[in-house]
Amino acid sequence: MSYSEKVLDHYENPRNVGAMDKEDTSVGTGMVGAPACGDVMRLQIKVNEHGVIEDAKFKTYGCGSAIASSSLLTEWVKGKTLEEAGAIKNTEIAEELALPPVKIHCSVLAESAIKAAIEDYQSKNAATTA
């Protein structure tokens, strides 16, 4: 299988690899996928008091396209509000990385990861304010 240049770039120089303290209330963590399916993505966002994503980190177990999808996503969500980040569609990721049809599921997983991270952040903060 041949990969697009953008996939190769993100795969060889992944952006924002790392982890944040998932107990921190300003951090939202989304972990999606399953080892048995060959893909697991963990995406973390750090949200400031204005509801803007200040930082994002990821780690991914999966193919090159899965790694590239999550790396790209961390670049995109930084500086976005939760609402804007939650509106990112998998098709935009797939288009940007020129993913072939068999790899579309990687972009779907990335979209699920950001949604899960936002949900985690919101549920944490709903609980503390309640």
Binding site: M1, Y3, Y11, P14, V17, A19, M31, V32, G33, A34, P35, A36, C37, G38, D39, V40, M41, R42, K59, T60, Y61, G62, C63, G64, A66, I67, V102, H105, V108, L109, S112
Partner: protein, 406 residues
């Protein structure tokens, strides 16, 4: 230390043609060479071509200690498997319609069996043991009154384990069941003696043994005689078992490749084993690295390893300077983990993390050194990227997590 990149480590998918073989083949194509139709009986062109094909047939027979009359030319091991299994099934169906094979066979056997199931045959697919080999007692227990054929491979293409075909042949012969062996991966690697082994049919491929693609052969035993129903009809070539004009240059190439294999097998095997052991010794001290399949009953050319918490496809991408595969080339277009590793009872995670290194005649020590460094570096890098590796390091049992399947 000089290496040419990328380094070829996928000899189980195919081998380069040995230069001696290519040189010989070139004399059987053009007007100046021996281009005749081996079936032409009326002139020298045909006689010479026939002579070349028969000499090549003798080389095939010699490698496996058979009679040249027992060798039928085909287009490759897939065709040989089809001819053996369908040919026996169709000829002997009045005696029974049950066939036994194993879940880790090549698709050329499995898919042929599936087709026979659609035609009304019944097939038992044995489970291998965790080391990749079948339990002979279980095989014997599955033989029934209506069993006509057992089809098992000699050397597994993904994990390289070697089946004890001599022992299996004793069982099948005692039960008067025919025994077919796919030996595509074993010629030139493991000694085969068909005078001693009670194998009735055996499939061969040229291109796994430094011959050209597009040619193979099927051994069909004469004593006791095995009958086949032809699958390819036409001019009645190959004693009616496989019609079609013989590809003289291909047959000559396969013959030369098998002649060289017979001469060099012992010394080559030792050299390759030393290289394979060097490769394994260079990576086995890494954490969470597992060999798939038995390491003892295995051809020296193969090392199939799972690097836990690293996904195979991304590892292949990281190892782009060495040409390797995850599982077999025939199924690597799909996203499914290897069906062979799953049949061994490997967890899906480990099956997803497997890489097959297969080395051969032109692999050098420098290639192995390069590969070891690259593997250690890239596996480490991908683990830094892996959330599963984090969790493993934190002592979290991955099986305790409720994963969302997708």
């Amino acid at each position: 230390m000089n290496v040419n990149l990328p380094i070829y480590m996928d000899y189980s998918a195919t081998t380069p043609v040995d230069p001696r073989v290519a040189e010989k083949m070139m004399h059987y194509l053009t007007l100046q060479g021996v281009f005749g139709n081996p079936a032409s009986r009326s002139h020298k062109f045909g006689w010479e071509a026939e002579h070349a094909v028969e000499e090549a047939r003798e080389h095939i027979a010699a490698l496996v200690n058979a009679d040249p009359k027992e060798i039928v030319w085909t287009s490759g091991a897939t065709e040989s498997d089809n001819l053996a299994i369908k040919g026996v099934a169709h000829f002997y169906q009045a005696q029974g319609k049950h066939i036994i094979t194993c879940k880790t066979e090549h698709k050329a056997v499995l898919d042929t069996c599936r087709q026979l199931e659609r035609e009304g045959f019944e097939v038992t697919y044995l489970d291998p043991q965790p080391n990749g080999l079948i339990d002979l007692k279980e095989l014997e227990a599955n033989i029934r009154k209506d069993t006509i054929l057992v089809s098992l491979m000699h050397v597994n293409n993904e994990i390289g384990v070697v089946a004890d075909i001599a022992a299996i042949g004793e069982i099948t012969r005692a039960h008067k069941v025919l025994f077919h062996v796919d030996a595509a991966q074993s010629t030139g690697k493991v000694a085969i003696d068909l005078e001693k082994m009670k194998v009735d049919l055996m499939s061969f491929s040229a291109h796994k043994t430094y011959g050209p693609k597009g040619v193979g052969a099927l051994y069909v035993r004469r004593k006791p005689r095995v009958r086949l129903e032809a699958q390819m009809h036409g001019g009645g070539h190959e004693r009616g078992m496989r019609s079609g004009t013989l590809a003289t240059h291909q047959c000559v190439g396969m013959g030369e490749a098998f002649r060289i294999a017979r001469e060099e097998m012992l010394s080559e095997g030792e050299r390759i084993k030393a290289l394979r052991d060097k490769l394994w010794n260079g990576i086995k001290d890494m954490e969470e690295v597992y060999v798939n399949g038995d390491l003892e009953h295995r051809v020296p050319h193969n090392l199939n390893v799972s690097f836990n918490f690293v996904e195979g496809e991304s590892l292949i991408m990281a190892l782009k300077d060495i040409a390797v595969s995850s599982g077999s080339a025939c199924t690597s277009a799909s996203l499914e983990p290897s069906y062979v590793l799953r049949a061994l009872g490997r967890d899906d995670e480990l099956a997803h993390s497997s890489i097959r290194f297969s080395i051969g005649r032109f692999t050098t020590e420098a290639d192995i050194d390069y590969a070891i460094d690259l593997i250690r570096h890239k596996v480490g890098k991908l683990r830094e990227l892996s959330p599963l590796w984090d969790m493993f390091k934190d002592g979290i049992d991955l099986k305790s997590i409720q994963w969302s399947a997708h």
